[in-house]
């Protein structure tokens, strides 16, 4: 994923097609100023977001991950975001256990008309990630252990 070195960080956004992607579009059409760090991946529904998408992104070097869907009760498929809420909450509580800062992962709800709210979300999240700085990389290719622990 290309970035402007030194200025941008890598933030991955999983946006549901019906609300948040539309919300981001509304923000764009209304010409709201937004940071450019976010790379958006459009998904059919926030219920499509496997918690492992987030984990994979974070392990592969993303500095932050944002998941956004329709507000609860407003899901295009009626209940996708209710499932997403449970899964993502589980993930949010699990990440710090393995040493990943939970602040690097955020999930929220933005509707298609909330261009302003979208701008606010992206701006706040990006500035938080910039405060946290680049995510620490995992040590690569360390030597294999000589013996198994008894």
């Amino acid at each position: 994923m290309s970035v402007v070195e030194g200025k941008e960080l890598r933030i991955v956004g999983f946006l549901c097609n019906w609300c948040s992607y539309g919300g981001a579009d509304t923000a764009g059409v209304s010409r709201f100023k937004q940071p450019t760090d976010l790379r958006i991946i459009r998904v059919p529904c926030s219920g499509r977001v496997d918690p492992l998408f987030v984990v994979k992104a974070l392990i592969s070097g993303a500095d932050g991950v944002l998941v956004s869907g329709c507000h609860p009760r407003d899901c295009h498929y009626s209940d996708g975001n209710f499932y997403a809420r449970r899964r993502l909450e589980m993930l949010k509580r699990f990440l710090p256990f393995v040493g990943i800062d939970a602040r690097r992962f955020h999930y929220t709800w933005v509707s298609a008309s909330e261009g302003q709210r979208w701008q606010q979300t992206v701006t706040d999240f990006t500035s938080l990630i910039h405060e946290l700085g680049p995510a620490p990389l995992l040590p690569q290719n360390k030597t294999l252990p000589k013996e198994a622990r008894a």
């Binding site: 209710f82 899964r87 909450e89 509580r93 393995v98 040493g99 995992l138 690569q140 198994a148 622990r149």
Partner: protein
């Protein structure tokens, strides 16, 4: 653990089922292995002692016939969870419960006796007596118990058609069950990170933890190995190792019955069950749910509430 009672039960149950899954002697007295009984002549080969660690309920989803299975408290939760998820039919399984005073971890015993070949092993109340060439070692059961037993809340099977022995009172209450996880959570983020990096670094990606897991039921479609979707490469990097353990942990969210098979199977001694225990702790807090306790429950990730009492919307700061 009452072997005579167990044999008696197996004798009465055997005619009504196709197979009884129990334990028999393995390469030595410290290594019992699972056995599949089909005729009454084999009943005398059964053994039952604290070294019987395997979770025999793991065989149930792959059996088509009516089977009886010997389960300890922790294993009985697996039976419930499998039935809850529709992976087995409860009416096809006869559950022979064995109230359990705690198992022994073969790994811990072997390391205590310096990996000497075991000549004889016997189990007294809370002592394990191991005879090797170098002499006799007496080990306290508590010192060689697997981690799961030290925080066990269900020594008596939660479901059983027959019970071989007296019920055992749990020594651990709800509050102290997750003490170890809370203590780990109290460490700093960097410490936790360093801890898991060191642990995952030893992983050889043999997938023994997954293969031993009674609730890992994807078999050949496990996303750790499929090429389509291609979640992981074959590289032996920290990224891939960590990703594998995340897949295992997250696919067991709200399903893990803490039988500890993953840890028992791990040849590198990685405390993989901890990851699942942490998620279980959160499931308990968020949804008041414990896997494998009641047949009528629904796993929390398979359902939802319109208004979640415990989930609040997160603010970015």
């Amino acid at each position: 653990m009452n072997l005579e009672k167990l044999k008696e039960i197996v004798r009465t149950v055997l005619p009504s089922v196709d197979v009884v899954i129990g334990y028999k002697k393995g390469l030595d007295a410290l290594h019992p292995v699972p056995c599949f009984l089909t005729s009454p002549d084999e009943i005398d080969a059964l053994v039952l002692n604290p070294a019987c660690m395997h979770n025999l309920a793991a065989y149930l989803p792959s059996l088509k016939n009516r089977a009886a299975v010997v389960v300890k408290g922790c294993d009985s939760r697996t039976v419930v969870q499998l039935a809850q998820e529709g992976l087995i039919k409860r009416e096809n399984v006869v559950v022979i419960g064995v109230p359990c005073q705690g198992a022994v971890s073969v790994r811990k015993v072997l390391s205590a006796i310096d990996h000497q070949p075991v000549i004889e092993a016997s189990f007294e109340n809370d002592t394990v007596v191991i005879k090797t060439k170098k002499g006799e070692a007496r080990l306290a059961l508590r010192d060689v118990a697997p981690d799961k037993c030290l925080a066990c809340r269900y020594p008596t099977p939660v479901v059983a058609d027959h019970l071989a022995g007296e019920e055992v009172e749990p020594k651990i209450d709800e509050k102290t069950a997750y003490q170890e996880i809370r203590e780990f959570d109290a460490r700093s983020l960097e410490e936790r990170r360093a801890y898991w990096m060191a642990e995952f670094d030893r992983c050889i990606r043999c997938y023994a933890c997954r293969n031993a897991c009674p609730l890992c039921v994807c078999r050949e479609s496990c996303i750790a190995e499929t090429r389509d979707p291609h979640w992981m490469s074959q590289k032996a990097t920290q990224n891939e190792k960590m990703m594998f353990h995340m897949i295992h942990a997250i696919h067991l969210a709200g399903r893990c019955t803490e039988c500890g098979e993953c840890e028992r199977a791990c040849p590198m001694g990685i405390p993989v069950a901890r990851l699942k225990k942490k998620i279980n702790m959160e499931m308990k807090e968020l949804f008041g749910y414990e896997p494998g306790i009641s047949m009528d429950d629904k796993p929390p990730m398979y359902t939802f509430k319109v208004e979640e009492e415990k989930i609040e919307e997160h603010k970015i700061r």
